[in-house]
């Protein structure tokens, strides 16, 4: 995701060492949560805990991305990432706003809010090579 492995900074290595376990935890928690809600039919506070559980590793990933920004010592790499993140935020906000109004008119299906973070990641990922290309 961030720069080439050969020239990867210690901060980028720490980022990956945190990112992959968090994503593995996400997959495990998501499957457990869905399975338990479907098969155990919990209710009350337990249902709340199980329902929100998959958000925790995703929130951790957001924090891990923030930590990388703080820890990366190469200011140019940091600046590229910030620009890509801003593109990601802009595209996500614009896209979700437009989609919401289309939903209002029953023109498109409902977009679950948990898709907002993957949309942001996708937009940021697409923006990264474009941002770098401008500085070639």
């Amino acid at each position: 995701m961030f720069c080439q492995p050969k020239t990867m900074s210690p901060a980028a290595k720490r980022y990956l060492a945190r990112f992959f376990p968090a994503m593995a935890a996400y997959v495990a928690v998501l499957f457990a949560s869905v399975w338990l809600i479907k098969h155990q039919a919990p209710h009350g506070p337990l249902l709340w805990v199980l329902a929100i559980a998959p958000a925790a590793p995703i929130i951790a990933v957001i924090a891990i991305m923030g930590l990388y920004l703080i820890e990366e010592t190469d200011e140019f790499v940091r600046a590229m990432l910030v620009q890509a993140m801003l593109w990601g935020i802009g595209v996500t906000l614009a896209g979700c706003t437009a989609w919401g109004f289309l939903e209002n008119a029953d023109l498109v299906a409902h977009l679950p809010l948990y898709l907002v973070f993957p949309i942001f990641c996708g937009a940021m990922g697409l923006a990264q090579p474009l941002v770098r290309w401008r500085y070639r």
Partner: protein, 64 residues
């Protein structure tokens, strides 16, 4: 901002990777600095000046 990094580097027969290593940044950062598309922060500019033992204003020119 224009700068003389490429010339200074060539005078010492350093590759972009050599300079990157000495400044503890990535090679792509050196490339962006040399093309003048990215202006370094003050701390990085001072680090560059110290490395070449030159005043900052003889390395970077701020006129258009």
């Amino acid at each position: 901002m224009k700068n003389r990094l490429k010339v200074l580097r060539a005078e010492r027969d350093w590759s972009q990777a050599d300079l990157a290593e000495r400044l503890e940044v990535s090679r792509q950062t050196i490339n962006a600095l040399e093309t003048g598309k990215y202006d370094p922060s003050l701390p990085l500019a001072f680090k560059i000046a110290r490395l070449f033992s030159l005043p900052i204003e003889t390395i970077f020119q701020d006129e258009a």
